[in-house]
């Protein structure tokens, strides 16, 4: 046995996933697996919520327990599922896509990951000791009044914030300094552009939330009075601080997803991306504009009436760069040779559902209509169309797309299609009735509702159970394919970005020899059959 194969063997040892490992690919898998585990927990909480709301009346949870469940459902799905799972893809793929051997700061990268299980443990622990029960928004004074779990929860979210910030520093530095020869900014894959936009947003916005949570924790533990009304503190201050991060957080959760869609559509349409520069710049535009819209969450707060109008206008304008992306994606598939792999189906599903999220977002940016539907199930429907129909669909699209690269195995396409069908039907059935129940008078975060809303809520709950089923199909598919799936070649989709120019899975230093970029990432159809000949590396055994 040669020394090389011994090294290979060590390299493939599963135990390394449980250690402080600085290989970005190991860290990427750590992120993904951890995030999917939290997705299961957050999803189980969603099933509890929908079961309680299956019919009017208080069935098996009282108001206190219910508030704990919704708070943790929201916090887990946002801070421990969507944000880390997208960071996981970026960790694994970003260095490969720009032809680098690792991230710029490998140890910082490991720290970003390990903060997640620790922060997650705090959030989960809070559940067992009189948990956070104020919604993920933690509005003061309610969050000052809440039991001790609220402090533990705040500590958990602060740690997760640091994880994001460290990750963002790493992505920006890596993208700026470690691109391989020939890769200028206009040759960057759009996923890398989207991570750049996301990371810059994180660097500006996340520290503000972290600071705000420290203020809350201090009010709670040391008796400071930042938010205490009787002492001249201001509850509206928290809303400003919170939304200054938490609205951009929506873009932090959707921009990388849009990046994934922009990778997947050209590959399975066999066509160049339509309007590369427009898509790249619209990511940056969303990132910058995203910092100027936060007070649209506060239109009913009694904030200065005149200030609402400028916030309405900036919020509306975000629809423009978003529209550019949607139309460019349509332009990409138009006239292509579409192949409906599960990855492609989830990308197309993303467009059709995110569109509804985007349009209802414009509705809510309008101040008078927001005075109506703010804090109702209309907003719950809207945010799930964006975060589930958008972000989560993009996660599954990326998962099916990159699974062969990460594991060296193919996923089962038939099960993938079944999962897509169930998830698409389930998601629409869950979230569409929410618009109506909100408009008809159902506030958000209620454990009980008026009897007239029973049939709409029944539909939503049935949809949620279908969604739950689709997730079981997915986990079955992922687990069996990882263990026993057929071996994947280095470039099964005949894609042109650099992560496909190395073996599946890639060797420890990513490339035998660093690639030199001579053409753009999406040059399909330039000369007939060009993309067929460019798949240079066939897998040479593993």
């Amino acid at each position: 046995m040669s020394t090389e194969s011994v090294e290979l063997k060590q390299e493939n040892n599963w135990k390394r996933y449980f250690t402080w490992n600085t290989d970005h690919k190991v860290i990427g898998v750590q992120y993904l697996v951890t995030a999917f585990a939290f997705f299961l927990i957050g999803g189980a909480l969603a099933m509890l919520i929908r079961t309680e709301l299956l019919q009017p009346g208080i069935d098996f949870m009282d108001g206190t327990i219910y508030n704990r469940v919704i708070t943790n459902h929201g916090s887990i799905m946002i801070f421990l599922w969507i944000i880390p799972v997208l960071a996981g893809f970026a960790n694994y793929m970003l260095p490969l896509m720009i032809g680098a051997r690792d991230m710029a700061f490998p140890n910082l990268n490991a720290l970003s990951f390990w903060l997640i299980p620790v922060g997650g443990l705090f959030v989960l622990l809070s559940f067992f000791i009189g948990a956070a029960e104020t919604g993920w928004t933690a509005y003061v004074p309610l969050s000052i009044q809440a039991p001790d779990g609220q402090t533990i929860w705040a500590i958990g979210v602060i740690l997760l914030g640091f994880s994001s910030i460290f990750g963002a520093i790493n992505f920006v530095t890596t993208t700026f300094t470690m691109r391989t020869e020939g890769m200028g900014f206009l040759e960057l894959p759009l996923f890398v552009w989207s991570m750049l936009a996301t990371s810059l947003l994180i660097l500006v916005a996340t520290p503000v939330l972290t600071a705000g949570l420290i203020l809350i924790a201090m009010d709670r533990v040391f008796g400071t009075i930042f938010f205490t009304v009787q002492a001249g503190g201001d509850p509206i201050l928290w809303q400003n601080v919170f939304w200054f991060y938490s609205h951009p957080a929506v873009y932090i959760m959707i921009l990388p997803g849009m990046g994934i869609i922009s990778e997947v559509l050209p590959v399975f349409s066999r066509k160049p991306i339509f309007g590369y520069i427009a898509i790249a710049l619209s990511s940056m535009a969303i990132s910058v504009l995203g910092l100027t819209v936060w007070a649209h969450h506060m239109f009913t707060s009694g904030m200065s009436p005149a200030l609402r109008v400028p916030f309405m206008i900036t919020s509306m304008i975000i629809a423009v760069p978003t529209g550019i992306k949607i139309f460019s994606w349509l332009g990409t598939i138009w006239g292509g040779k579409l192949r409906f792999t599960p990855s492609m189906l989830f990308s197309l599903g993303f467009i059709s559902m995110f569109l509804i999220g985007g349009i209802t977002g414009v509705f809510q940016a309008s101040v008078p209509f927001d005075l109506y539907v703010h804090d109702t199930y209309f907003i719950v429907g809207h945010l799930h169309f964006v975060l589930f129909g958008g972000s989560v669909f993009s996660v599954f699209s990326g998962f099916y797309y990159w699974f062969p690269k990460v594991t060296g195995r193919e996923m089962n396409e038939r099960l993938g299609k079944i999962q897509f069908a169930l998830m698409f039907i389930g998601a629409n059935l869950t979230y569409l009735p929410m618009f109506a129940s909100g408009m008809l008078g159902m506030p958000r975060r209620v454990v009980d509702y008026a009897p007239e809303l029973a049939s709409l809520n029944l539909l939503t709950t049935i949809g949620a159970y279908i969604l739950g089923t689709s997730v079981i199909v997915f986990f079955h598919n992922a687990a069996t394919s990882w263990l026993r799936g057929p071996k994947a070649t280095s470039n099964p989709w005949r894609a042109l970005t650099l992560e496909w120019m190395t073996t599946s899975p890639p060797p420890i230093h990513n490339f035998e020899e660093l690639p030199v970029v001579t053409s753009g990432p999406y040059e399909y159809g330039e000369t007939p059959g060009a993309s067929d000949t460019r798949q240079t590396l066939e897998v040479t055994g593993d």
Binding site: Q145, I236, I324, L338, F340, L355, P368, Y524, G529
Partner: protein, 341 residues
């Protein structure tokens, strides 16, 4: 572009715009809207229908294009070639940047006009103070010095609600008025409205305020000026009734806002935070072994957490009634509840 395609596109555009206009003006969308009980509701519904019309057109364009592409550009079996190497089209990209920009600017201007209409200060409005507290609403009519747990409004009169909170943030919402406003401690937020449709509607709390959030429901009654004047006069007389009379004991139940959280038909109370008090005089002695009816009711008022009726939550009822009530008032209240059989 071929003339035939231009004609097809024009026909498609006409059809789409027709659908949009129909949605905005004629098609019945009342199934997803509560009735309109105030002027603001009429304005906001107009805005909603306009936006819905535009949204339906955009929705049909994108989803239609998506579905068309999925069927039209499906890869044939065995085909391995690529699509045409088209990297973009400047004219198209300018169009799909400008048109959405124009649409959102138009919606913004229209929204601003509607906002100005619904928040135009009225002439000589009826001012009412609204106080949110965990988990009930309280209404004060300052001119008449009346405090109640349900809101009565005269129809077709300008109303100015001065909304605040005693503890955490709540949000005052009547779906039939459409508009809502947060009740924030330490600040007074104004809500202007003009009721247009007589009836009884629900007032909900729209901002998570704790375990009793979902049950923080009371009613708003919109009635004619005469009915309203009668009601307010009756309310101001309540406080002066002696607690030795049955009417006086009922008045005590009402002025202490027990009905915010408890249902009691005798006092027209519809609260749902705590257990119903209908027939409490008969049930009381069965609740806790060793406590007779009188002692059980007294304990439930003074130490509400001592015994919690199944299906209800502890720590929701204020535990300071011992300080708020005089001994005489407490006795009268217990007596009143014992009479409920």
């Amino acid at each position: 572009m071929k003339p035939r395609n231009i004609i097809l596109l024009l026909i498609l555009a006409v059809i789409l715009i027709t659908i949009g206009v129909l949605v905005a003006t004629t098609i019945d969308v009342s199934a997803i809207l509560p009735i309109q009980a105030s002027e603001s509701a009429i304005y906001i519904d107009q805005l909603f229908r306009t936006m819905l019309g535009i949204a339906v057109v955009i929705f049909l364009i994108v989803e239609g294009g998506l579905i068309y592409a999925v069927f039209r550009f499906r890869r044939k079996r065995g085909e391995t070639g690529d699509g045409a190497p088209i990297h973009g089209n400047t004219l198209l990209e300018v169009i799909w940047t400008l048109i959405p920009a124009i649409i959102v600017i138009v919606i913004s201007i229209y929204s601003y006009q509607i906002l100005t209409e619904i928040e135009r200060p009225g002439v000589k409005p009826l001012v009412i103070e609204v106080i949110g507290k965990q988990f009930a609403w309280e209404f004060r009519y300052p001119d008449e010095e009346v405090t109640t747990t349900s809101l009565h409004l005269p129809i077709d009169r300008e109303i100015n609600l001065q909304i605040t909170s005693e503890d955490v943030i709540h949000s005052f919402w009547v779906p039939e008025f459409r508009i809502k406003r947060d009740a924030t401690p330490g600040q007074i937020s104004e809500l202007i409205l003009r009721p247009t449709e007589a009836g009884t509607y629900r007032i909900l709390c729209a901002e998570l305020c704790g375990p009793g959030h979902a049950a923080m429901v009371t009613e708003v009654v919109i009635e004619s000026k005469e009915e309203f004047d009668d009601w307010i006069e009756k309310q101001s007389n309540l406080a002066e009734l002696p607690s030795s009379s049955p009417e006086g004991r009922r008045a005590l139940f009402i002025t202490q806002a027990c009905g915010s959280c408890h249902t009691l038909d005798d006092a027209n109370a519809v609260g749902i935070v705590g257990p119903s008090l209908n027939e409490i005089g008969a049930i009381a002695e069965t609740r806790v072994p060793g406590l007779d009816a009188q002692n059980y009711i007294t304990q439930s008022i003074l130490q509400p957490n001592a015994y919690i009726v199944e299906g209800y939550t502890s720590n929701l009822m204020p535990n300071n009634y011992g300080e708020r009530l005089t001994a005489e008032e407490l006795q009268a209240l217990v007596e009143y509840l014992l009479e409920q059989k």
